[in-house]
Amino acid sequence: MSHNYNKLPILIILSLATIPIFLMYIYLILDTFTDTDPGSIIPNKITLEHWRFLVQNIEGKISIWQVTLNTFIFASSVMLMVLFVSSTAGYAISRLNIPFRKEFLAGVLVLHAFPSITLIIAIFLILQILGLYNSLFGVIIVMTSLQLPLGIWIMKGFYDTVPWEIEMAGLQDGASRFRVWYSLVLPQVRPGLIALGVFSFLAGWSEYILPTVLAPANNVQVLSGYLASLIADDQHFDFNLFKSVGLFYALPVVFLYLFFQDKLMNIYGGGTKG
């Protein structure tokens, strides 16, 4: 916009409002490798002490690597399942002649807006009845199901932009409908698959409530639950340690986000978080 206005007041007001975020994230990084005297805000010693949890288990906790592996299995399984199921269902709804097609799409839209967290109590009871409580598989399948409306909706949107001519040409050349989807259409919606895949992976990686409620056992713990249980333990209160574990936990998120920022923006724009 034109420059005949003074933008200093805006800058000052915005900066003041942003101070908490700025402080929290600067000190998140700073505190993981420094020590600060109690009652002071300036770090006065550089140390790697707070990262010792990488090589040595925290008292009463299982190895961070086991937890990281669980989290990775959880997040990537959710990602793969969401990708697979959404890419087929999205195509069916966008392009194939199926009965109740209109109703399916309406259902996807309604469920997409529906706040799935309210179902946690019923899901907890269902998993108990099915015997899937306390298993990573149970949480994966629940998380996938709850992500599906969003996933199908996004994939449907991407399929809608693929020109019909591509498919018609494929059919003319004698390819089956499946072959056309697999060889011609899927490559066209790659950006959608990447965005949805990264989004699902990040959602799985960050999820706290589902794994904590549905699989609280130690051997299937994920990083969110691990960090929360560290903080909840009143005996060993150590913000610097918590922050180091937290930074370790959040690094993949930050990198994936920075790398796929443009692709993710679409999904976050219609995001579901409070």
Binding site: N97, A122, S224, Y257
Partner: protein, 436 residues
């Protein structure tokens, strides 16, 4: 059937199965569970029949006679197949066992004295007092605290006591001693009469209204409009910083707020330079707890509005803005007369959408104050979670929690259908153009 329809079935099936099993059925089952008294005590998959001292006390209030209860409550000695089988390997005279089995099966004695007197008269009676005691001990049984897996088994054991109960009395005893869950509408009654309900309703109102208006729309508007007027680089820095809370995993994000506000945290260290007393800023008073809950949620919520409003503002034709500047409009006039009217629909969308998510979200409150201090920041969704899934007392009220959740589910269903109406749905549906 056309090939495309067959492929369609195969393609839609996995999604349909998963969504029905873990998305639609929970919606319905929340309703079903809310009409039960399911809890940790009753279990989930069904129960057994067990008479405890508490049950007997309840039965006396329901009009079962004192004598009956006394017999039920006391121990008895019965010659049953089970008891005989269990003593076979206990080094007891086999002749005695077979005599009991053949001639006296099914007899019941209601005191040790009667049973021992009976034993002494048998042909193969125990030789001495020690053996007699040893034998009689094996036959001792009591309905008290004994677990029966089936109703028939329980009634049969009741009948063995020969109490001459009529059918309605048996029904009362069976009902009272059932340990599993039963159907009830008690949860909704409880929800209405409990004073806590009113409290969490007010809390939910405060939480949703303040966060929604101050941050999710209010501050989001300020952010998107002010960054619109800033040079690109500065704008992108502010947008990136305000986006951080949304992408940070919630556990870590709330931890950062705790570090800022708790006793050993940053605020105390900073304010101690000015001689302010150290305290837990997040939890020391109700007002402070509310301020931080709204800040914590608002800092996340602001970014969604920011993205949506920013893209709406950039889509306003630049010529209109230039023209207004030529005509001498001040920046404020530009915002009020050009930008805000363009944002009407995005604002309405963010308001309704975020209202629903705030109403049902409890993750950040759970991680930060957990409803404290006391239960002054307990909101509806958190209360459902606390009742059904996690509380200090350990007795989890699944049924009551489900009833609380059902209220939110109902609101969710209504509001999501409303969204469907607002979206121009028919525009989104296009008939497939390949008909095979």
């Amino acid at each position: 059937m056309s090939i495309s329809a067959k492929l369609g079935y195969v393609f839609i099936a996995p999604a349909l199965i998963l969504v029905v099993l873990f998305f639609l059925s929970p919606v319905i089952l929340t309703g079903v569970f809310s009409f039960t008294n399911m809890s940790t005590a009753t279990g989930i998959t069904g129960g057994a029949y067990k008479l405890t001292t508490t049950v007997i006390r309840d039965l006396s209030e329901k009009g079962i006679s004192k004598n009956t209860l006394k017999t039920i409550g006391s121990e008895n000695y019965s010659i049953s197949v089970d008891n005989l089988n269990s003593i076979k390997d206990k080094n007891i005279n086999l002749a005695l066992i077979s005599e009991l089995e053949q001639e006296h099966l099914g007899k019941i004695f209601n005191s040790r004295r009667n049973f021992e007197r009976f034993l002494k008269k048998l042909n193969n009676r125990p030789r001495n007092i020690r053996d007699l005691k040893k034998v009689s001990k094996q036959f001792k049984s009591s309905l008290i605290n004994r677990r029966f897996e089936s109703k028939d088994e329980f009634i049969k054991s009741l009948e063995k006591l020969e109490l001459k109960l009529n059918e309605s009395e048996v029904a009362i005893i069976v009902e009272e001693s059932y340990t599993g869950w039963v159907w009830t509408s008690e949860n909704f009654h409880k929800m209405i009469i409990l004073p806590e309900t009113k409290q969490i309703l007010i809390n939910t109102g405060i939480y949703v209204t303040l966060t929604l208006f101050l941050f999710n729309t209010g501050f989001a508007l300020i952010l998107s409009i002010s960054t619109f007027y800033l040079p690109k680089f500065q704008a992108s820095i502010f947008r990136a910083l305000w986006f951080l809370p949304r992408i940070t995993p919630s556990v870590l994000y709330v931890l950062l707020w705790k570090w800022l506000t708790w006793d050993t945290g940053f605020m105390n260290a900073f304010l101690s330079y000015f001689g302010v007393q150290q305290r837990n800023w997040m939890l020391d008073t109700t007002i402070n707890a509310w301020i931080f809950i709204i800040l914590i949620n608002g800092f996340i919520g602001a970014s969604m509005g920011m993205i949506i409003f920013s893209s709406a503002i950039t889509s306003i034709p630049k010529q209109i803005l230039f023209a207004s500047e030529v005509d001498g409009a001040s920046r404020l006039q530009q915002i009020i007369h050009i930008i805000l009217p363009q944002l009407k629909w995005p604002i309405l969308f963010v308001l309704t959408y975020q209202c629903l998510s705030l109403l049902t979200s409890f993750e950040q409150i759970l991680l930060s104050t957990d409803g404290g201090p006391g239960s002054t920041t307990e909101v509806w969704a958190l209360s459902a979670y606390h009742n059904a899934l996690n509380n200090y007392w350990g007795n989890l009220q699944y049924g009551y929690g489900a009833a609380l959740a059902l209220v939110l589910v109902a609101i969710g269903v209504i509001m999501s259908f409303t969204f469907l109406k607002i979206f121009r749905f028919n525009d989104l549906i296009k008939q497939p153009r390949i008909e095979q």
